[in-house]
Each structure stands twice: as structure tokens, then as C-alpha cells.
């Protein structure tokens, strides 16, 4: 059961990673539609606002699954990290914990800045919050994947 939940958690995280990275690049495009021929321009030339509902739903689902899985981490993985004195790995997960909580708490603000019609006074907040959330998702994803594979990689 835990393995199945971990797989679903990971798959949803991949989808969120793609969605929020795409949205962050599109949100910070200074001239939408300019230079449409390049891959980067095409990647950025998307309707950033259309991602917000999916991003919020994915965040809530992933953090809920993460909080269900968390006791297993504390029972199985963390004692292993402590026994092997892998302090950096332990600390990286502590940061992942904080990022998950802060991301969840920031979702109402993120939602408000992306609410239609988009308000110009929240333009910087929209871009800033989206990049902050995207950075947290990248950190959490990379650390999560490294910790899942830590036995094969480092022990």
C-alpha cells in the first residue's frame, strides 16, 4: 500500500513539476508571442492562467499523500539516515518538509493572484509566487527522488 501511494505521489509530482515550470516561464514572458519559431518561445507562449486550477489541485493531492506517507519515512528512512550519519540527506528532507508546508499555506495567495480577470497590481506577485512555488516543487522533487534511491546511490 505504501509503495503504491509513493508511486502515485511521485507521478503526480512529475505532472506538477511540468505544469508549474511551464506556468512560471509563461508568466515571466515579457513579450508573449515574440519569436515564436524557437522552442523556448513556444514553451513560454502558453496561457499561464489556465494552469492555476490544476496546480492547486495537484499541490493539495501531493501534500495530502505526502502527509500520509510521512510516518513511514520517520519509521523506516530517517533512522537509516541517522544510523549512517547522513546529516545532509536528513537536513534536505527537513527543508522539503518546510517547503511543503509553506507551499500549501501560500496556495490561497497564489490562487488570488491568478484569479480572472488578472489584476495588474498583482502582476509582480503572480510571477514571484509562481517562481517561488516552482522552486519549492523542484527542490522537493529532487530530494524526494534522491531519498527514495538513497540505498542504491550512497550506501
Amino acid at each position: 500500500m505504501i509503495t503504491a501511494l509513493l508511486l502515485v505521489h511521485g507521478i503526480l509530482a512529475v505532472v506538477l513539476l511540468g505544469a508549474i515550470t511551464h506556468q512560471a516561464f509563461a508568466a515571466s514572458a515579457t513579450r508573449p508571442g515574440a519569436g515564436r519559431s524557437s522552442f523556448i518561445a513556444k514553451f513560454r507562449n502558453t496561457d499561464a492562467a489556465s494552469y492555476s486550477k490544476v496546480v492547486v489541485a495537484l499541490f493539495v493531492a501531493i501534500i495530502f499523500l505526502g502527509s500520509v506517507l510521512y510516518p513511514s519515512y520517520r519509521l523506516v528512512v530517517r533512522p537509516l539516515l541517522q544510523a549512517q550519519d547522513l546529516r545532509a540527506a536528513n537536513g534536505s528532507f527537513e527543508i522539503k518538509e518546510h517547503f511543503s508546508a509553506l507551499a500549501l499555506l501560500l496556495l490561497p495567495a497564489y490562487w488570488a493572484t491568478w484569479r480572472q480577470p488578472l489584476t495588474p497590481e498583482y502582476a509582480s506577485a503572480r510571477v514571484g509566487l509562481t517562481w517561488i512555488l516552482a522552486s519549492m516543487v523542484w527542490w522537493n522533487f529532487i530530494i524526494g527522488q534522491l531519498l527514495v534511491s538513497i540505498k542504491g546511490l550512497f550506501l
Binding site: 508546508a101 509553506l102 501560500l106 498583482y122 514571484g128 509566487l129
Partner: protein, 97 residues
Amino acid sequence: MMFSLFACVTYTLAYYFDWSLFQYALAENRFYFFVQDSGSGPPILWYGWLATAVLGGAAGAVIVPPRLSAKLPGDLVWLLPLAVIVAALIYEKRWFV
């Protein structure tokens, strides 16, 4: 908007000062109100910190009048979260030294 800003700050204070609304004793599979010594290994405080932050955020959203929150500078909405991220990194640097 105000909920998120107050909740982020409350969460940061919660883990700095162990203001956990409840704790989960892993070995006993039980929840206890506030932080206390359950005597059965290290408890999980993260759920409690999150609950404390939700309370703080809700209180902030209720207390701050809408006319003040409407005047909130757009940049503060992302600068404050950035500050709490830096605070988290500073707090956790103990693992990397």
C-alpha cells in the same frame, strides 16, 4: 492573501519555537494536544506546526480589515514568502555544517 502571509510567518515561528498545536506519537499511533513528552520516542510535530499556522493565518485574515489588505503592495506578497524561505534555510543549515 492575508491568510497566506500570516500563516507563513506563523509556521516559521511555530517550528522555531515549537508551537505545535498537537503532536503525533509515532510509536503509540496517538495524537496529543500541544508538545509533551509521550515517553515513546521522537514525536511528529509537523502536522501540529501546520495546524498552528492555519490558525494564525485565519486569525490574521479575520483581524486585518479589508481596506488595509486591499492596500497591500504586490511585491510584499512574494517578498515575505521569500524571507520565510531564507529563514527556513538558515534554521536548517545546522545539518550541513
